[in-house]
Symmetry: none
Subunit: 258 residues, 2 copies
DNA sequence: GCGCTAAACG
DNA sequence: CGTTTAGCGC
């Protein structure tokens, strides 16, 4: 069974790439981020031929998450569920039998020291609590999405040039590490050490993808009840090479749930 | 030899349609209108595979004309060349051996009685003088483009509903007729009488193209030295049916220049 | 760069 | 309806 994350940077703009990719890669479950569309305008009908079920949580123009799945989820929940946090459509959770899948689009933070940067740190804190409170101990769970943090120097090209950049600050890394430390395994890193493995290449850098000037900010984590079942976790660079690509590409984890 | 006119309503937005059409229809010369792009941004490189030569006269956002040709023109001139008229990129002239080709994007006029409407009438007058002064007597010439006048009741759907509309006013028809009267033949009408033959269908009318609620405002005229050589003049509706079409479609005239 | 939102124009 | 110009977000 495979579970994937893909920041599509607009579901409407990315329909050709997304459909081509799910049809060729055939993931069982796909968490999407930055769908950028209200639920009423999500192109569900366009996805119908693929046979995927679609759970959505979106808003106009920004953010937006979704979960596609070959099998219908048994339950779906959206949002942080906290009136102290704006409902900016960054969290969607679905249960498939015993398995919980939590998709997130972590706030970018925009600029170090900004209000949005503070919000990112607060959001991590609040999301960590949601994870603790909603993922039952002992039941398999995967948390995945655009995490907007490159955890180590190996997760961004030329790390010394990015010391001052958002998504690469100690506070962000620590906020993420506090959650990950509660029993989550970074599945890609479990299998593949070393630099040069990225999931996001900025549009603004000329030939950034070809030159592999990227960031590993899209992650798939498994909890202790599931991590041992993971047999592979890879970055699929194919969608980043297609016509009109997203700036991100999918990460796919394979599990042996026999 | 075929000469065509096509108001593309943005050369950038219309590249797929334009390329598909020139590759299938294979016209020798194509006058384009509403390219809407400065010369430096005209997608010449994108057209290179087609083998067409490109002469351009454009501005940012509005208007803009061009001439594509299988054979390179021997000379090209642009504009009305009159300091009393703004250089709004509506005229391009090219010579191919003995043959002169004059492409125009006539001002729309916007609203009857407006300043722009007055400009349209003045422009016609000034353009008529340009034609007289630049097309040598006795040498073959074609004048074509988006003329923005439906000359008769047969050139618009439900003419009685359009008596008050721009592009259908007596003053406009007379301004056009004064030029045409100096020896130009409306080639489409030379071959095809009757209503229902249009070159422009407004985007704003639901299913206007399917229901054929259109206007014949794109014309091809030949002078006395050329008209007798014309063997056909047709509206090619195919490009109006393609994905992301212009609101106009090409008119193609065929000449026997043996 | 390449998405998005708007308003202006035709 | 489908262009354009802008500004915004990442």
């Amino acid at each position: 069974m495979t579970v994937a994350t893909f920041n599509v940077n607009s579901i409407r703009a990315r329909m050709p790439v997304l459909k081509a990719w799910v049809e060729s890669a055939g993931p069982d479950i796909v968490a999407l981020q930055e769908t950028k569309v209200e639920d009423g305008s999500f192109p569900i009908a366009d996805l119908e031929p693929t046979g995927y079920h679609v759970a959505i949580h979106g808003q106009k123009g920004y953010n937006g998450v979704a979960i596609l799945s070959r099998v219908a989820p048994d339950e779906v929940h959206t949002g942080l569920g906290d009136p102290d946090f704006p409902e900016d459509c960054r969290v969607i959770r679905a249960r498939f039998g015993e398995l919980w899948v939590v998709g997130t689009y972590v706030p970018n933070g925009t600029k170090v020291g900004s209000e949005k940067f503070a919000y990112k740190l607060a959001w991590f804190e609040r999301f960590g609590r949601l994870l603790r409170e909603t993922v039952p101990a002992g039941t398999p769970a995967v948390w995945l999405g655009d995490i907007n943090v490159a955890p180590t120097d190996e997760d961004v090209y030329e790390p010394d040039r990015h010391r001052g950049d958002v998504c690469f600050q100690p506070e962000e890394k620590e906020a993420l590490a506090r959650i990950v430390g509660e029993g989550w395994t970074d599945l890609f890193r479990h299998f593949t050490p070393g630099p040069g493995h990225y999931t996001f290449w900025e549009y603004t850098i000329p030939n950034g993808f070809k030159r592999n000037l990227g960031w590993r900010i899209d992650h798939v984590y498994a909890n202790e009840a599931l991590a041992g079942r993971c047999t592979a976790c890879v970055v699929d660079r194919a969608p980043r090479s297609m016509e009109r690509p997203s700036d991100h590409t999918p990460v796919v984890a394979t599990f042996d749930l026999a």
